[in-house]
Symmetry: C2
DNA sequence: GTGAAAGCGCTAACAT
DNA sequence: ATGTTAGCGCTTTCAC
């Protein structure tokens, strides 16, 4: 591989001039610039990123640590982040923590070692519990998960409000016994749980909650157990798209009619929720915008490390469909 | 940040000894090793990756360039790759080329600049057309897309066979007019197209193909046009999960009964294909295994650059469901 | 078993 | 406008 010295020699100038041309700096004659550019072309020269980083002490790279890459919610966020990063000429390292605090810690250390300019993170609950931006050598923006009192930049859905509205919708449809399936292992799950509780209490109804690990398999098992346990609830709400999937699979397996025998609703407007019969009522999240806001927040924070803490709270959209509305057919 | 020199001073040894301990090399007394390790601990020292890479001239990092991160097929592959890489202590840079040759070229250059140890790539058609591993400074393993005569390590489905079996299934169900929706912009699409043609010819039937861009929106548009064009075909086959989604959406919008008025089938056993009514017949790909094979191939190639070219061809599984079988209900 | 020192490729301060 | 050179943090001869 050609080095900067080779280019300098080929162009008959010093390495300093080459470096200046590379950085697009002023103070180089048009003549020299041309010669250097020709030499770069001729030698197919590319700057060594490792050397550049060693010198500059930063990597011009962003980190993105998602909790589950198989969840379309996070892939959509990834795409948004990547779009904006690409347009800004930034690299992004996408990592999948798989809801595992150990993997998460590993990747955060890796980010430090890589000297990334900043990180977007959807933290596991244990980490969020004691999360402090000051513990890290790089700026961090939280996405999807954040406690009210977490002192960090963050982009989140108004989870309590979203769950409240979804629950109220069910109550308005005449449901009394409404079960709520939520991942106790994430802040988001708990906040949605709180919104659900608020709606139930306001209506004078008894909450019925089922905590679980936030993946399809667990959702299936927990739902099956619930359905087998005597009297059916009027409705079941899933606090994420993945859980909703498991929920529906179990309801189907049990041969129950929706919305006749039981009503169903959940979070995340995944494409298939419109295709099943009946279509599923969901609380849609503005996923792409969550990702876009997150990277914009991060870039601002990087440009201005001392700016005040920011939180972007996005509102979800209730999409009522046949799975909760008696008369309606999808 | 503590440097290796700080550690050396704190331990009262030279940087060379610290480096030896870091590499786990022999030739260091137990005494010294202990002192160094304590100093590392005390200073919370972490080696600078940029410096290490500059010296070592390699990054111990793998690249993964997928064509569409929103396609669950690729996220599942990503997860497999990441799993294996994590267990081997390797970093992986995941990039989304978004079916765009320009982005793809950008990321391939980036991989070169990063001096990655190797790359897993699902190439766009233009790139695949003239793809030569020798053009790159790092080993490459192709996934999902590869021509018969491409001279590169690759892991692919037996696409022609898969499409053939899927088509034969439809023919066996009595379908005569079978339309095939395929992405002309990928080798995989064309190979599946070939399998479909073979089945149709063998049965003496007229092929009807609809080339399109491989995304949900285009699939929807193309299907709607097709459905509006006079006489309905007996069946429509989608060559990927994403296209299948768009196809079903359009069939629903047109208010057609499946399998009564039209039959439907596609590739990729996505969770929702089991949940819609009727359930959809699919040709399932072993996604996780595709990813795992790819990284294993890559690691072998890195360990042994001169080994013979390898190709792993995986067989898909036909899962017949209600969308193609008259009597059956999902 | 241990240490001194060269040098990976680059940028930037300083000199001309 | 251009060149010289120190040094970023690390690994690795080579000498002891």
């Amino acid at each position: 591989m050609a080095r900067i010295l080779d280019v300098a020699r080929a162009a008959g100038v010093s390495v300093a001039s080459v470096s200046r041309v590379l950085q697009g700096q002023a103070g180089v004659s048009e003549e020299t610039r041309k010669r250097v550019q020709d030499a770069i072309e001729a030698l197919d020269y590319r700057p060594d990123l490792a050397a550049r980083r060693l010198r500059a002490r930063r990597a011009d790279t962003l980190g993105l640590i998602v909790s589950d890459i198989r969840n379309p919610f996070f892939t959509e966020i990834s795409r948004a982040v990547e779009d904006v990063a690409y347009r800004n000429g930034l690299r992004v390292m996408l990592c999948n923590a798989d809801e595992d605090p150990e993997k998460e810690a590993f990747y955060l250390e890796m980010m430090r070692d890589e000297k990334v300019s900043g990180v977007i993170l959807s933290p596991t609950l244990p980490l969020l519990g004691h999360f402090k931006p000051a513990d890290y050598s790089f700026p961090i923006v939280l996405v999807d998960r954040c406690e009210r009192d977490t002192e960090a930049d963050a982009v989140v859905l108004d989870n309590a409000d979203a769950a409240l509205r979804l629950s109220e919708h069910l109550i308005a449809q005449g449901c009394r016994r409404i079960a709520f399936l939520y991942g106790a292992s994430s802040a988001t799950g708990r906040q949605r749980h709180d919104g659900y509780l608020a709606a139930m209490r306001a209506a004078g109804l008894m909450p019925e909650v089922e905590p679980l690990q936030p993946n399809v398999e667990r959702a299936r098992v927990v739902t099956s157990t619930l359905l087998a346990r005597g009297e059916l609830p009027d409705a079941i709400v899933a606090r994420s798209g993945l859980i909703l999937l498991g929920l529906l699979e179990s309801v189907r397996a049990a041969g129950l009619a929706v919305p006749g025998q039981i009503r169903i609703a959940g979070f995340d407007d995944m494409p298939w929720t419109r295709l099943v019969t009946p279509a599923i009522t969901v609380l849609a999240q503005p996923t792409y915008e969550i990702g876009r806001s997150a990277i914009e927040l991060l870039l601002q924070r990087i440009a201005n490390p001392d700016q005040a803490q920011r939180r972007v709270v996005l509102r979800g959209e209730l999409i009522a469909r046949g799975s909760t509305v008696a008369g309606e057919q999808a």
